[in-house]
Symmetry: C2
Subunit: 429 residues, 2 copies
Amino acid sequence: MSEINNQNNKTPWERVAGNGLLSRRHLLGLSLAGATGLIGSRVLAADASRVEIPQWSKRPGRDPSAYGSPSGFAQDVRRLAGNPNATLPGSGVSRTPLHLLQGNITPNSLHFERHHAGVPDIDPAQHQLLIHGLVRQPLRFRYEDLLAYPMQSRIHFLECSGNSGANTSPQAGDSSAAAIHGLLSCAEWTGVKLSTLLEEAGIAEGASWVTSTGADGASMGRSIPLNKALRDVFIALYQNGEPIRPEQGYPMRLFVPGWEGNVSVKWLTQIKLSDAPANFRDETSRYTDLLPDGRALQFTFPMGVKSLITSPSGQMQLRRQGLHEITGVAWSGSAAIRRVEVSADGGRSWADAHLEGTGQDLALTRFRLPWLWEGGPAVLQSRAIDAAGNVQPTRQQFQEIYSPANRFHYNAIQSWSVSEAGEVKNVYA
Amino acid sequence: MSEINNQNNKTPWERVAGNGLLSRRHLLGLSLAGATGLIGSRVLAADASRVEIPQWSKRPGRDPSAYGSPSGFAQDVRRLAGNPNATLPGSGVSRTPLHLLQGNITPNSLHFERHHAGVPDIDPAQHQLLIHGLVRQPLRFRYEDLLAYPMQSRIHFLECSGNSGANTSPQAGDSSAAAIHGLLSCAEWTGVKLSTLLEEAGIAEGASWVTSTGADGASMGRSIPLNKALRDVFIALYQNGEPIRPEQGYPMRLFVPGWEGNVSVKWLTQIKLSDAPANFRDETSRYTDLLPDGRALQFTFPMGVKSLITSPSGQMQLRRQGLHEITGVAWSGSAAIRRVEVSADGGRSWADAHLEGTGQDLALTRFRLPWLWEGGPAVLQSRAIDAAGNVQPTRQQFQEIYSPANRFHYNAIQSWSVSEAGEVKNVYA
C-alpha cells in the first residue's frame, strides 16, 4: 500500500525519470529534460523575431453567448450513434468517444445513450412520479415538488451492462475504444435520496424490492433490492450542474451507483415497493449472463472492476518513436479503484500507473504512465484492482466462467497490439 | 475539527432531525418522516389506480444523436450575456446562472466568459505556442505537439477578479446571484504542466517571472511569478473531458489554479521568461485594488476565501412556509474549504453546513443546510473558512481595507433578505 501511494505521489513524468517499469530499461538515469527530449522531433526550435500574426489576432472576435458550443475545428469529437433499427423503433445507442476525451468527467453532450423506445420529449410540468405498492401512504410528486427536497451531489460512472460485448465475439474486430467500450460515461449527478421519499411514504411490512418504471414508450422497468435503494440510490435531477439531458431521463431518472446502467431507470414515473422483483421484460430478455451449462444468472448488478487504455487505442496510428503517454480510465461498481497496472508486453511485466481520481467511489479514475516506443511490436494492457480486492480478469479467465454466447458484464482486460508500423489494433492476447 | 467532521458525515436531512442550529428550536425531537412532512403541501396523496398515460409514453421518441443538447423545457438555464459594448468591440462578459445550477461542476456551455476582444475562431493547425525570453533554447509548439506530452487532470474553480464587484456599490441592487456573482465556474481541466515545457526549454539565470500573451485581438497579457508557474500551472487543452471551448481559449489556455481568472490567459500563443513583470495594460488599467489613501495594490493573485448561497437567492420567491434547503458554493484560492457556516438571522447565530467537495483543493465545494421558514423576515448569509485559516470577511470588514471605489477581489459575505411575503433580495447587512 505505501509503495503504491508513493508511486502515485509522483507525476507521470517523474516516474519516467525514476522507476517506471515500462521505461526503466530505457530511461534509467536520464534527467527530466533528457526524457522530454524524446518527444524532440515534434518540438521546433523557435526564432522569436519571426512571430507571424494570424488573422484572428487582428480584429475582435465574436461576442459572448447564452449557451456555448464546441469549436468548429473540434467537430470530430462526437458520439458514435448507431444506425436506427427499423424493426425496433427507438431501440438504439450512441457511444462516448472515449479515445478523444481526457480526465474523468464526460461532458453532457457526449454522455452515452441507450434507449429502448427513443428519447421522449417530456414537459416537466406534466410529469409525475408515483410511489406506491408496499408503502403506508402512496405519494405523487411533481417535478417542482422534488426540487424542494434536500439534495446530494455525487460523481459516478454509468456503464451499460452490454458494454464491451463486441469482445465476447470469437473474432476480435478492428474497432476503436469508443466502438467497443463507449457505453461508459461519468458525471456529477445531483438529486434527492430515494430513502428520503420512501421514509416519507412509509415502508410497509414485507417490502424487500423496489421496481421502477420509465415514461418512455417501452415503459422500461427494472427491480432492485430495497437495501440498495436505501443505501445510496437517488433520483437525479441535475447532470454536471445543469438539468439532466433528455437522453439521460429529463426531467428525472433513478441513479443506482455502481450498478449496471439499465437499472438507473430514465424518465422515472413510477416506483413500487414489493416483496419480489417484477421480472420485467428487460430482466429476462436481456442483461442476464449465460453460463456454459445453459443456465443464466439474473440480477448481476454491480459492474465488475475494469479498466481501458484510451490512448494509444484501436485504429490509432503512432507516428513517431519515442515517449508516449499511456492513459485510460478504470472503474468498479463495488469499491474505489486502488491500483491500475499497465503492461506493454502482453501481460508478462506490469508497472503501476499514476492515478487521478475524483475523491469519490464508484467514479472513473484516470490513469497515466509514460511509455518509450522504440518501433517494435507491442501489446498494451491495463489491469484494475479495487479497494475490495477485486482484480480485473483476463479474457481467458472471463470466458472460463460464462458461455461463449454470453454478451453481458464483460470486464476482461483489453489488449491493443502495436505493429512495427505503429498501427494500433484490438486483439485477444 | 472532529465535531465538524461528525457534522459532515450526516446528510442534511439527518441534521434537521438532529442538531442543525438553524432549525434546532423548531425541529428537535421530530423524526425524519416528521421533518419531511413539513414540505407536505407539495406532496399529493396518490390514487395508484388512476395513472394517466401521457402522449410521450405512447410512441417511440427520437433516435440517439452525435452531440446532445438540453431539453427545450430547460431553455431558461442560460448564461447572462452582457450587452455588446460599441466603444470597446469584443469587450464583454457572460455569467454562469449559479442560482439555476447544482453540484460543483459547471457544464462547458455555461462556463462564464470574459473577453477583451471577443472570441477568436482559431484553427489549431495554424496556432503556435512560443516559449522564449530567459530560456536556454526558445521552443515553438504546435497544438499537436502538446497533445503528445504527458497530461494531468484537475478540478478547479475559475473566478474573474471583478466578480461580485456590483456589491461594492453604495446601493445594493435587486439582482440575482448570477448577475452579481456569475463570473465564477468550476470544471475539470486537463493539460500539460508548464514546468515540463519550461524544463525542456531550460530556465536561464535571472528568470523570475513568466509573462503570457493570448492570440485574441487584444493580445491580452499577464505576468505571474516563476515559482507559481513551476508549482501547479498548466496549459489546459481539455475542459470537462472534451477539447476546451472557444470561449475558454481553444485550442489552449494557461491555467493558474486559485488565482484571479485573468492570469489564466486564453488562446495562449506566447510565454516569455523575464526578470520582472511586463506591466501589461491589464496589470495597471484593471485588476488592481484601490486603497483608501489613493494608492493601489498590484498583483493580488490568489482569490480570497468566499461563499455564496445560490438558493434561496436574489429575485427568488419562497412560495410556502416550511422546510427549505439552503445551498450554495464555497471556494478559496489559497487552500481547500474546511468549513462553511450559515446564518438565517443576519449573522447573529451560525450553523455548520454539510459539505460536498470534489476531493481537490482550489475547486468549488457545495454546501447544504436545511432551514425552516415560518413566514417571518430573515437574512441569509454564508461564511467560508479555508484550510489555511482564512475567514470570509463581512462587507464592513472588506470596506475598511479598500477604497469605496475599489471594484476588484470583493469576497465579502453575501446577505439575502427574505421578506414576510417570501421575496428574496440582495441587501447589505
